[in-house]
Symmetry: C2
Subunit: 188 residues, 2 copies
DNA sequence: TATTTTAACTAATACTATTAGTTTTATCAA
DNA sequence: TTGATAAAACTAATAGTATTAGTTAAAATA
């Protein structure tokens, strides 16, 4: 049914290699030429594994979203209420710091409306919903709150990554204070 | 001292053309080839106006940041307190909606640490500081608050642009509710 | 009027993704 | 064991990209 490959490149292995390039040099260096070089194959061979550069970006986005989800879900184990939100937030920004390129890839899918990409992202939204459920927000309040939390986390990570925070002021302290204020304001 | 150009391409005119391409087709379509075609010149001629694609991206980032600043500053005229923050927020997300490509360009400078880019961004930070001053936050609280507000605005705009908000729930309502909650939580 | 400077140009190079067609090799079925 | 199949590599070629070098035309200045 399925013959064994000559070299045997697993898709996951390829995506890990692409992720390393992204983290080390940024997404603009994730080219088919650079990826092929890292894998010791020729660029056209990559078309056997995904549909060109666009296909790679899509698969890498999903790979990154799922990797982020795992860390978020793990951070949310055994905690609840404000502690859970803070743990989730900490895990989020830490992921963006440790994997700047993969985090970048997360946002670089050719079509963010793509079903597979949406499904991967939906898991993170669901996780956020669950973590916020302890606050017993009424009606649409819960949905607005999810949008707010996601905005803070993504905005904070993105600005931090782009060097937007110049003040000599502890970053995690800012994040925690902002998250606490947001939760207090939403529930009060 | 300065002879008149043959065609007379002003840098601002070039950046406006680049901005139109960005808004209509996205930043990935802002290539020297496409820009030259729109201006009816040959790609190498563009090197007389900026230092290659990287130089264009930098100048377009500054152009976009200044354009955004003008709209924010205008929105903050004649209002104070919560109203001022809401007006600023509304102007911010509206800019990102009306000029998705230019907003994207704002974040795509080759080196965000570049002095000129930083200076342009500093004006927006200063504006945010001033708008938040009415809340009389103590010490570092004010600085943390600026980071929080910027994170919400950028995160919200970025997620909205990437199609991250799928629920049938009014977007501006979300934004205003989140901003109000944040302000309440920071000042309470 | 002569000089200088700006900003266009052409031609060439190196890199990119991509397609077409080929070859190697492992697996499966007879 | 052998023959067919299918995966996944390959080479060669093409089109599009940024970029550099060197040239030319025209406008402004002295």
């Amino acid at each position: 049914m399925s013959p064994r490959p000559k070299i045997g490149l697993e898709l996951t292995y390829i995506l890990e290699a692409a992720g390393e390039i992204a983290d080390q040099s940024g997404m603009q260096e994730v080219t088919l030429a650079n990826l092929a070089k890292k894998l010791n194959i020729r660029p056209p061979s990559l078309y056997n594994h995904f549909d060109g550069l666009g296909g790679l970006r899509k698969k890498l986005a999903i790979y990154g979203i799922e990797k982020l989800y795992k860390e978020l879900a793990d951070a949310a184990i055994g905690v609840s209420g404000t502690d859970a939100v803070l743990a989730l937030s900490k895990a989020y920004v830490h992921f963006a710091r440790q994997h700047p390129g993969i985090y970048e890839a997360t946002l670089m899918a050719p079509n963010p409306e793509d079903t597979e990409v949406q499904q991967a992202g939906a898991k993170i939204v669901d996780l956020t919903v669950r973590v916020l459920q302890a606050f017993e927000l009424r009606g649409d309040q819960a949905l607005h709150a999810v949008r707010g939390l996601r905005s803070i986390l993504h905005g904070f990570s993105s600005l931090e990554q782009k060097g937007g925070f110049k003040m000599a002021l502890d970053l995690d302290e800012s994040l925690f204070l902002v998250i606490r204020a947001f939760l207090k304001g939403m529930t009060a």
